[in-house]
Symmetry: C2
Subunit: 184 residues, 2 copies
């Protein structure tokens, strides 16, 4: 029966290596993408989260279209109008460099003749930001941790130190600027 | 054992009433909101669908921020880059009248001094539009049915007759203008 023992050991070793490999590489990725100051990583599948609102920036050089998505805890809190947001809330802010869409503009010229309408769409991904609520861990910053990523890489420590001061004017809305967009 | 029979019947009757009530009221709502030409109703819980993209309209009187959401079939097709879209695809286009956000602008002035940035956010719901793929039912219009609702009420027949002609320039993308926004 020695060959059975050897086969069994070989299978155990193979399975151990298989199980360890993705874990090790996953861990490495996580470590690579941890943002400074607050230690936040990009939440898995955040693009599947539900829509809170949209906005766009104009008037300057930073012309962007933006969307805010929320995890289940965030969406429930926004819909219930609940403040402060409960621990576990995560809000994702997706930012895209915008561009005028020729295809859309042609159609708008047909649909709304003479209106001079112009449609701006995402041209490329700019960055994504997260607000993570943990009232104990982030007690010093209103209960929120902040993170900013460009191409999956976190911004530096200096950048992350600007997050909370910028959000302080929204203290009466638990430091969150975004309001839930009404459902049309 | 007669009381058991009576109890059983009472439970059956109670459950039947409970089951019928929401169905009846849901049906009434549905009938009220059926759009002309294509007979499409507002899909239940479409606001929970996942994000395809965002855009905004500028340069004319129709200043809007917009989001496109997709049901599961739509999201899979967009992510796979699959054309034509499979039957069952539904794309929702949510349109909001936009307004400049004073609160956001103050923060942008601090975060980006001198950049003159302005943030535009949803002020109020404008309308919502749906594209529903059914290659047999809507064979005459590229396999798509179209619907437009304002405050839950469908637009008129004349409006709905303009949908397909406007989408024809996007024939090579299965009549869909929206492209999937890259994940930042």
């Amino acid at each position: 029966m020695r060959w059975i023992t050897i086969l069994f050991l070989a299978i155990v070793i193979a399975l151990t290596i298989l199980a360890a490999l993705p874990f090790a590489s996953g861990k490495a990725d996580d470590q690579a993408s941890a943002a400074p100051v607050y230690g936040i990583r990009i939440p898995a599948r955040y693009r599947d989260w539900r829509l809170i609102s949209v906005n766009h920036l104009a008037g300057g050089s930073l012309k962007q279209v933006r969307a805010q998505l929320g995890n289940d805890i965030a969406i429930k809190a926004f819909r219930d109008g609940k403040l402060p947001f409960p621990d576990g809330t995560i809000i994702a802010a997706l930012h895209w460099k915008e561009n005028s869409s020729e295809a859309n503009n042609k159609v708008l010229a047909i649909g709304f003749p003479g209106a001079g309408l112009e449609s701006f769409v995402p041209e490329s991904a700019a960055n994504v930001q997260f607000m993570v609520k943990d009232s104990k861990k982030y007690a010093a910053t209103g209960g929120w941790g902040f993170a900013d990523f460009t191409n999956g890489k976190p911004g530096d420590e200096a950048l992350h130190k600007t997050c909370f001061p910028c959000h302080q004017p929204a203290k009466d809305r638990d430091y969150v600027f975004t309001r839930y967009a009404p459902t049309p």
